[in-house]
């Protein structure tokens, strides 16, 4: 319990509170990012560097960006004030839920007899990998298959040829008017090989 812990804890809690209390969606998101960062800091503090990096990579790099996409796709992007009615004065429900969960967690931690103190040395990534590959091989493989399927699905969707953006002309699709002053016929229309297209 040193200063770093308290600072990080304050940041984390502040981020969490801001994330639910802000009325601007993007501000909420940024507060959430702050919260994630705080959690990552805690992992660093616990010498779980791998977990910290993964936390940043996945939660900030992916989850936050996913939420960003959601905001950009669904809501009025240029003005993202959410109306107060969404909270609807039912904040105490949320507070009660939070309190119950906190209490449960505290009880679980107190009741837990295993002493999982930080070992001092960082958890080696190699060990983590070996554990995953040996003890947890089957769940890992299932997950891998699932993710690969998702990835392949994404690739298939992406590979689907979009229709070429070739707008139909709106004005006239009529027959071309004969041009008044055109000479009789293009006398020697020859096909010239333009300097073009090496690759096709």
């Amino acid at each position: 319990m040193n200063a770093a812990f308290w600072i990080l804890a304050a940041i984390t809690v502040a981020g969490a509170v801001l994330a639910v209390s802000q009325r601007n969606l993007v501000h909420c998101l940024l507060a959430l990012v702050l919260f994630f960062l705080g959690i990552a800091g805690h992992y660093f503090l616990l010498r779980a560097e791998f977990l910290a990096a993964v936390q940043i990579l996945i939660y900030i790099g992916a989850v936050a960006v996913l939420i960003l996409f959601a905001i950009m796709l669904t809501r009025n992007v240029t003005g993202t004030e959410i109306p107060r009615e969404i909270l609807g004065g039912k904040w105490w429900t949320g507070a009660a839920t939070a309190a119950i969960i906190a209490g449960l967690l505290a009880w679980a931690i107190r009741a837990d007899r295993t002493t999982a103190t930080p070992s001092g040395a960082a958890v080696l990534v190699r060990e983590l990998g070996l554990t995953l590959m040996k003890d947890w091989a089957v769940p890992l493989e299932i997950l891998a298959v699932l993710l690969t399927a998702a990835l392949i699905g994404a690739v298939v969707i992406a590979l689907e040829e979009p229709p070429h953006p070739n707008p139909l002309p709106r004005r006239g699709e009529g027959t071309p008017r004969p041009l008044g002053e055109r000479p009789a016929a293009p006398s020697s229309a020859q096909t010239g090989e333009g300097k073009s297209g090496g690759a096709a």
Binding site: N76, P165, R177, L179, S196
Partner: protein
């Protein structure tokens, strides 16, 4: 696959221009975007309106000549020629042969520098960071040096006169022109090597901004744009003004009518222009360069009307002039600016494309706002 999920999204109305890096001047496009896709586009013109036509109607005939320089300030030489041609038609003035040759030389050099700059800017719009523009400007610089040596000014040449040209070409300036013509194919080769087969460029420009042949004809598109869409129409061939029928050259015609075709047509036209220049510089006859019967001051024209048109680098540039009984200044003076009319089709080409394509399509139209807004 199932039908894509339609997500209700907010459209974004973006005003591209009048101050924007790639609107080629003070031109504005009100673009409505759905994500990045253009669903509506409204060109807004007139920021550079200078009342050119009305001014010309209040001035002596010759006094409009320097103002025509400022229409399409890239090609003042051909603007001069178009105006002079209209007045000459109206007044029935003969032009000496040497002057006709000089005009052809000037107009084709103008075409070279205009097309070089136009494709350069087009590629710059595609994101090639000014390299093609500056290569084009390197060659253009030589042509402008030549214009300055002949006419006294690099861009505002004010060179043609009714019944001839203002200054003769000397041996020295002719040698300069020959030097340019000799160099230019080398530049074209370099330029094509730099860009023509670039896969990124092809991906960016092929099947983008397609202008169908029928629409091109209906909207009276002219110049390289029409030819890229497959319209075999070149006033140099159709009208045979000046001494063009004496030269042997061909007109490149595209098929698809997309941005890449417009780019390629310009490149091929430059090659043809070099061909014309070689012939003109070889055959230029000696003789007077100005019809001595035409006075500069108190120039009067018998009543009537006339339309003179040339194939300017951007398309059909025409001047419609009406002279009244007094004949001291035009009763009606109307310009048919090619880039203005080519621009009217912009929305039809842009719909359904991305914002990034809009600037490329606009670049491929090759507009000069001095001419669009007049």
């Amino acid at each position: 696959m199932s039908a894509p999920v339609v997500i209700e999204t907010q459209t974004l109305e973006v005003s591209i221009g009048p101050q924007h890096p790639s609107t080629h001047g003070v031109f504005r496009m009100d673009v409505v975007l759905d994500g990045e896709v253009v669903v509506k586009l409204k060109p807004v013109m007139g920021y550079l309106h200078r009342n050119h036509e009305q001014l010309a109607e209040k001035m002596p005939w010759i006094a409009s000549m320097p103002y025509t320089d400022r229409l399409d300030y890239f090609c003042s030489m051909s603007n001069n020629w178009a105006y002079a041609l209209a007045v000459e038609k109206l007044a029935g003035i003969q032009v000496p042969e040497r002057a006709e040759y000089i005009r052809v030389i000037m107009a084709e050099l103008t075409r070279l520098q205009n097309h070089a700059a136009a494709v350069g800017f087009l590629l710059s719009d595609c994101g090639a960071w000014f390299t093609p523009v500056l290569y084009a400007f390197r060659e253009r610089e030589r042509i402008l040096d030549f214009f300055e040596a002949v006419s006294g000014s690099r861009m505002m040449c004010n060179y043609c006169r009714f019944g001839g040209v203002r200054v003769d070409l000397t041996e020295q300036t002719l040698a300069m022109a020959r030097g340019i013509v000799e160099r230019f194919p080398r530049f074209l080769d370099e330029f094509e090597k730099l860009m023509t087969e670039n896969e990124v460029l092809m991906a960016r420009t092929q099947r983008v901004g397609i202008l169908p042949k029928a629409l091109a004809i209906d909207a009276s598109i002219s110049g390289p744009m029409a030819r890229a869409s497959g319209v075999e129409y070149d006033i140099r061939k159709v009208d045979g003004y000046g001494v063009y029928p004496r030269f042997e050259f061909q007109v490149p015609v595209g098929e698809t009518g997309d941005v890449y075709d417009r780019y390629m047509i310009r490149i091929l036209e430059m090659r043809q222009a070099v061909k014309i220049l070689q012939q003109a510089l070889r055959d230029i006859p000696a003789g007077p360069f100005q019809n001595p019967a035409v006075k500069l001051r108190n120039f009067k024209i018998p009543a009537g009307d006339g339309y003179g048109r040339i194939e300017s680098p951007k398309g059909e540039l025409g001047f419609y002039l009406v002279a009244d009984a007094a004949g001291k200044n035009p009763y009606r003076y109307h310009v048919r600016p090619p880039s203005f009319i080519n621009l009217t089709i912009l929305e039809d080409m842009c719909l359904g494309h991305k914002v990034a394509d809009v600037v490329v399509i606009l670049g491929s139209v090759d507009i000069v706002l001095g001419e669009v807004d007049r």
